[in-house]
């Protein structure tokens, strides 16, 4: 392809990527390096239907002049990254010095909002990703051995958790595990403990969020594996059967190696998705027990006073963590790609 033709061929995608991926990223990074100007606070008297009270307000004229001079805000450098609501450098340092052993240090660390969110996010990603892949694989194997006439409906039902909107799906589970819901009551009966409540216990809440995560994303792994299963070489399978390989051995030595590249792909997508876990925390009202990095960003933006720089700093940190998490998989893919040539 000529250079010119190639340029015009990729130009629309490059333009869109710059507009919708690169520029927002630049904007987020910039935002995270600035904080708001010093606000000039004046004491005033506020009156309303309930009488008058002394209060304070922002002196708009004084603040406007500052904003005019530097519209981006005050240069903060890495201050926001280092403050207590993010990496909490000095608090962590203090905790390390004062800690009475590692468990005590861990407790102090988990009391800091960023590390608390990171702790859940990493646990969630580490548990949900492999379970999703394993469950998706077994569903694919099972569906693949269903009689051909039944496959269409089976596939449709297996995909349902992914088709259902995340918020709706998690709300349905949320109501079912309520202490008065069908699953919640069932659990109480199973454990013979009438005061058992999933929503009141942190470990059970984590388990429920992870259960939801696997339930929701297993269909994705399933459909990718199912597509892969259609390309397994039948001759190799037959040869294995003639050699006396059992069903399990055929899966282990023929099917699994064949599907390995797909596993890399699913792991890549799932790691990214799971690290951004968000909807279930909202719809399970789980914020008292579990927060994630995405939830922290949402929380910064959802208050009556928006914390734009704080949200931007958390976003940048999330991007960095996702990049770190993906690097082994990306390096592997790159190497595979190199050897194939």
């Amino acid at each position: 392809m000529k250079h010119k033709t190639f340029f015009w061929f990729v130009f629309p995608s490059v333009l869109l990527m710059i507009l919708f991926i690169a520029l927002p990223l630049v904007s987020v990074v910039t935002q995270s390096l600035y904080s708001k100007h010093e606000q000039v606070i004046v004491e005033v008297e506020n009156c309303g239907p309930f009488g008058c009270t002394k209060a304070t307000t922002v002196d708009q004229e004084a603040t406007a002049a500052l904003e005019e001079a530097e519209p981006l805000g005050k240069w903060a450098g890495l201050d926001i990254y280092k403050d207590r609501n993010h990496l909490a450098i000095s608090e962590v340092g203090q905790a390390w010095i004062n800690a009475d052993g590692l468990p005590d240090f861990g407790r102090t660390l988990m009391n800091l909002p960023f590390y608390k969110a990171l702790g859940f996010t990493i646990t969630y990603t580490a548990i949900v990703t492999p379970l999703t892949i394993i469950l998706g694989f077994f569903i694919a194997i099972a569906v693949n051995s269903v009689a051909r006439a039944m496959r269409g409906p089976t596939i449709f039902f297996s995909l349902l958790p992914m088709i259902v909107t995340p918020l709706v799906g998690s709300l349905i589970i949320f109501w079912m595990v309520d202490a008065r819901g069908i699953l919640g009551t069932g659990l109480q009966w199973l454990a013979s403990d009438p005061s058992l409540s999933v929503k009141a216990s942190t470990p059970l809440m984590w388990a429920m969020l992870m259960f939801y995560g696997v339930w929701h994303s297993a269909p994705f792994a399933f459909i990718v594996y199912y597509a892969g299963l259609q390309t397994v070489n039948q001759d190799t399978l037959e040869a294995a059967m003639i050699d006396g390989a059992s069903r399990w051995e055929r899966i282990r030595y023929v099917v699994v190696p064949h599907l390995a590249p797909l596993t890399t792909f699913i792991a890549l997508i799932q790691l990214m998705d799971n690290f951004r876990v968000f909807e279930p925390i909202i719809s399970f009202s789980a914020a008292a027990h579990a927060t994630s990095l995405s939830y922290a960003i949402f929380n910064d933006l959802g208050g009556e006073t928006r914390l734009l720089s704080s949200a931007a700093a958390t976003s940048v940190l999330t991007i960095i963590f996702v990049a770190m998490l993906l690097s082994p998989v990306l390096v592997r893919t790159w190497r595979d790609f190199g050897t194939q040539k």
């Binding site: 904080s35 708001k36 100007h37 010093e38 606000q39 606070i41 004046v42 004491e43 005033v44 008297e45 506020n46 009156c47 309303g48 239907p49 309930f50 009270t53 209060a55 304070t56 307000t57 922002v58 708009q60 603040t63 406007a64 005050k74 903060a76 926001i80 403050d83 207590r84 609501n85 608090e91 009391n111 909002p113 309520d178 202490a179 005061s195 409540s197 929503k199 009141a200 942190t202 399970f284 009202s285 789980a286 914020a287 008292a288 027990h289 929380n299 933006l301 959802g302 208050g303 009556e304 006073t305 928006r306 914390l307 720089s309 704080s310």
Partner: protein, 449 residues
């Protein structure tokens, strides 16, 4: 929404009201969009829209009380629906209203541009602060002088002598109780949280209910609101006078947290996930006998929908609850009111003002709307359901603090109190965490150095 941001109940009510208006609203919306179209689109679609316009004009007629643009953003519950509907009816075909529980996530952004997308925001005493901080609403003194002579002075919200909003309703949290259950245990109507604890213990001991106390204790905004009430009730001050320096790590702070924990022992174990809606549902299911609830939400509890007769017939409202011996009720007073955007033309500002003034005129009060809120307009006749809010006002309760950094503290409270209630750390540690989280946020926002 000040009384819980989630509003399934409110949405259902809203849907009923909206449904009746849907037909001609559709036409209004199409016309509204037409106004924002580019010239090119106007030229190409001109004929189609012109045809639509004629139909709409015939269907709706022009409200005709004002010339100019009206676009409302606000929370969604029945009283606000009523106000918005009346204002839109006055402003006529082009007027729009975007009422949503997420209003405060969009109102600043929607009023920052020039011209502002929203010409008015319906806010409460907490959410107006963000609009003042960002300087997106204008003082209304001139507009009141020109078009609002008949608005009673008590409805005007002034900040530093300048009128910034016009209030139309009052709200507060207060006791809601089951008369039959209290009679069964032979207890008087509680006036303090200490009474509530004593009554709850009796109800549980007599085996009437396992979790007799209710409360919107969902982690986040609701939980922070309950602490705000309780802390005010103990006589605590949130900030050092005249500064943004927080000071809640004190005896009053501990007392407020301890009381919340004592109450939570009598609540459904899931209380940290219960917002106002879930708490109301527990009430309607007959599982709760005593709770602190929003005045604007008690109407739903006392009507005959959603609960058994023994529940709704015995649902009564009491006054605000006290805690300790400070003499200040453990509740906050709220108003809901409307503002006018700064970045709009004088003509649009005047039109918005006139339409909104019509939206909150005494004319909107009728049999259906009268009990939706404690209206501040003349001609409001309180129903039994409104007694709690009126009692809170009469008891000299404190208005929710209208200071620029209260919102940041509210967020920090909502994020940290659950740790104490779950027993994972001491009250002092929780209060220290709250102060530290607030201080970091306040520094970032320029309130502290």
């Amino acid at each position: 929404m000040q009384n819980g941001r989630d509003s399934v109940v409110a949405e259902i009510h809203a849907a009923k009201i909206v449904a009746t208006r849907v037909l001609h609203r559709n036409l209004e919306i199409q016309l509204g969009e037409y106004k924002h179209m580019t010239l090119m689109k106007k030229l190409t679609l001109g004929t189609v829209i012109a045809a639509l316009g004629t139909t709409a004009a015939m269907a709706d007629g022009h409200g005709g009380c004002t010339e100019g643009r009206l676009n409302i953003v606000g929370n969604e519950f029945p009283a606000i629906q009523t106000v918005a509907a009346a204002a839109v009816a006055c402003a006529g075909d082009d007027a729009e209203a975007n009422l949503t529980a997420d209003h405060q996530k969009i109102n600043v952004a929607g009023m920052t541009g020039n011209p502002a997308e929203y010409t008015t925001a319906i806010v409460a005493n907490s959410s107006i602060v963000a609009l003042i901080n960002e300087d997106v609403i204008q003082p209304l003194d001139d507009l009141v002088a020109a078009h609002g002579q008949d608005i009673p002075k008590q409805q005007l919200i002034t900040v530093d002598g300048k009128i910034m909003a016009v209030a139309f309703m009052a709200n507060a949290q207060h006791l809601v109780y089951r008369a039959d259950v209290l009679e069964q245990i032979g207890a008087d109507v509680p006036t303090s949280y200490e009474d509530v604890l004593a009554a709850a213990e009796k109800i549980r001991a007599e085996g009437i209910m396992e979790h007799p106390v209710g409360g919107a204790y969902a982690a986040g905004w609701n939980l922070a609101q309950e602490f705000t009430n309780m802390y005010i009730g103990t006589g605590g001050q949130f900030f050092e006078p005249g500064s943004a320096q927080v000071s809640i790590n004190n005896a009053q702070g501990v007392e407020a947290l301890e009381m919340m924990k004592a109450l939570s022992a009598y609540m459904n174990p899931d209380y940290l996930t219960h917002d106002s809606n879930a708490t109301s549902a527990e009430w309607e299911a007959g599982n709760v006998a005593l709770m602190n609830m929003w005045g604007s939400r008690t109407g739903v509890l006392m009507d005959d929908e959603g609960s058994a007769p023994e529940v709704y017939e015995n649902t009564k409202v009491g006054g605000p609850l006290m805690v300790g011996d400070s003499g200040t009720p453990a509740t906050t007073l709220w108003w809901d009111g409307w503002t006018v955007a700064k970045n709009v033309s004088d003509e649009d500002a005047a039109a918005t003002f006139t339409a909104m003034a019509a939206g909150v005129s005494p004319d909107i009060l009728n049999d259906e709307t009268m009990s939706q809120a404690v209206w501040l307009m003349e001609g409001f006749e309180p129903a039994p359901v409104n007694e709690g809010v009126l009692a809170a006002v009469a008891a000299g309760s404190t208005p929710y603090p209208m200071v620029p950094y209260q919102g940041l503290l509210h967020t920090a409270l909502g994020d940290n109190i659950a740790d104490f209630l779950q027993g994972s750390e001491s009250a002092e540690q929780t209060l220290a965490d709250i102060e530290a989280a607030y201080t970091a946020a306040a520094k970032e926002n320029g309130f502290l150095q």
